[in-house]
């Protein structure tokens, strides 16, 4: 047998290591926990929190493709999330009956509308760089909110649109009990969205690990150098934006299915969505994809449970007035936690941990 070349040896080593790495088992563990949540913690609040973490993790990952992998800051990402949510709400809420076909059609429309709009925005806006691009996308996102609010006959305005899921995903559906838990349409919807999000996340992982993903990272590091290596960077940036926006629209459709209601503030809001997504991305670590999971989990768990801390403080420390005052302003505590994370994990949690492990292995 011929002697292996250096490149063949590297590939063999990669394959050997793939299933021996501890993070592989960590990923399996997190996935297993998410699959068991409806049975381990069946309360509405916990299942809702787990589902929102999954949805936001995928949304943050789609934003990370643009910001972390390509170096493009867009404030219009939330708008694409809203396009997906409204597409589904139009088809199974305002303009159609809840049916499987309409649900699929709503997702297909979300995909096509997001792709078309992202291509147009890329071609019109990518001529300008950095903060100017961010400002243009911010203006377009604000315009989308104004349109969704003012065109109330078409979009439901500020009142929004309520929607119901079809067949086995309807809230009223029940398939009996399993392990002492009633298997309702809500449980089926949970698994539908979990599997869909898993699929979207795997697609994004494949995308970032493909030759195309490597070129995007090269453009992020040094655009001029990437061009001098033979890449038409404008086209690659356009592909990255379009792909990220399509992913955001699809996850927006899934969000609408879960919450059963869309309105401009919750689905299009620049500050409500974009600020949270940006924070989650920075907390988790830009350019990691998995950072989206950590960032979304940290942000949503603290946002959900920090307000409860003031009740605990009143019960356990009834005379600690300063503590009560601080915990009443829980968003202040969230801000402090955010600052601490930025100080102690300058590359986000995943980025800093990876750096630490890389240093340890040298």
């Amino acid at each position: 047998m011929a002697e292996k070349t250096p490149v063949q040896l590297f590939h063999l080593e990669d394959k050997r290591k793939r299933y021996r790495r501890s993070d592989f088992y960590l990923r399996i563990g997190v996935l297993g926990l998410l699959f068991l949540i409806p049975f381990l913690f069946p309360s509405y609040k916990t299942v809702d929190l787990a589902m929102k973490i999954v949805i936001y993790a995928v949304l943050v990952a789609s934003f990370d493709i643009m910001l972390g992998y390509t170096g493009i800051l867009s404030f219009g990402h939330g708008m694409f999330f809203g396009i997906g949510a409204y597409s589904v709400a139009f088809l199974i809420g305002k303009y159609g009956d809840p049916s499987y076909f309409n649900l699929m059609l709503g997702m297909a429309i979300a995909l096509l509308a997001a792709a078309a709009l992202a291509v147009i925005i890329s071609f019109l806006s990518l001529r300008v760089k950095a903060i100017f691009f961010a400002m243009i996308t911010l203006a377009i996102a604000e315009l989308a909110i104004v349109l969704a609010t003012k065109l109330s006959g078409f979009t439901g305005g500020e009142d929004g649109i309520s929607l119901s899921m079809p067949g086995i995903f309807a809230v009223s559906f029940s398939a009996g009990e399993f392990l002492g838990i009633e298997i309702t349409g809500r449980v089926f919807t949970y698994y539908l969205i979990l599997l869909s999000c898993l699929g979207l996340f795997i697609v994004m992982l494949r995308f970032t690990h493909s030759p195309l993903g490597r070129v995007l990272q090269a453009i992020r590091d040094n655009e001029q150098r990437a061009e001098a290596l033979g890449y038409k960077t404008f086209i690659f940036q356009g592909i990255s934006i379009t792909f990220g926006c399509v992913m955001a629209a699809l996850v927006g459709g899934l969000y609408a299915m879960w919450v059963g209601y869309v309105n401009p503030e919750s689905c299009l809001g620049v500050f409500e969505i974009m600020l949270a997504v940006l924070l989650m991305c920075i907390i988790g670590g830009m350019g990691t994809l998995y950072g989206g999971i950590v960032g979304a989990a940290f942000y949503l768990i603290t946002e959900t449970f920090l307000p409860d801390l003031q009740h605990l403080a009143r019960d356990f420390f009834p005379n600690a007035l300063f503590l009560h005052n601080v915990l009443e302003r829980w968003s202040l505590v969230l801000g402090v936690l955010f600052i601490l994370i930025v100080i102690f994990f300058p590359k986000g949690v995943i980025g800093s941990v990876r750096d630490y492990l890389a240093r340890g292995s040298r």
Binding site: Q217, A218, T233
Partner: protein
Amino acid sequence: MSETVLKVEGVHTFIGQHHILQGISFEVGADAVTVLIGRNGAGKSTAIKTVMGLLPPSEGRILFRGKEIQRRKPYEIARMGIGFVPEDMGVFSGLTVEENMRVAMLIEDEATYQRLDRTLEMFADLRKFWKAKAGNLSGGQKQMLAIARAIVNDTSLLLIDEPSKGLAPIIVESLIEVINRIKDHSVVILVEQNFSMASSVGDNFYILDDGIVVHSGIMAELVHDEELKSNYLGISKVGG
């Protein structure tokens, strides 16, 4: 001179308001390493950036194998077979050595993988740090990576901008060895201030001063021309 690979004719280039290249002309043949030398600010780096399309010329013609390229974009020029190693090395710091090499491979075919294997045999450190982030490499290793990236494709002309800048003498020696090996496969244009390196690898030279070519010839003759070296390169013979 053998077949002309690159011909630069009366090229003018501005950077902002500054008129850097003021009608520069030179030719590069197929079987030699050509060195552009001159003092700081003479326009050497601007000249090869202009050839690469990174700076648009306002006037003049640049012909690569007979085809005009002065209006082409850098990615088009790269795909025609011109490789570029910039002064700042331009490695992608956030990518590993492997990823840097694979980004540089415009086509992942058998021939490119053979070139990659050959390149890795030439640069042992790149094999050693294959999975390391390029941003963590030393200056010399980054320079090796930058050169390796440029030669992994079927490059017929390689532009190298001041490879010895900021490197230890021992690293410069190994660079000289590498460039001497590369010239068996590619035509090389080297921009260099380090005269010792320039004379070790160069066959022909062009001296630039204030954006024009003031002298050209065979490197072996320049090595002994103390007056020219003193006037344009600021090199004086010790004790002379």
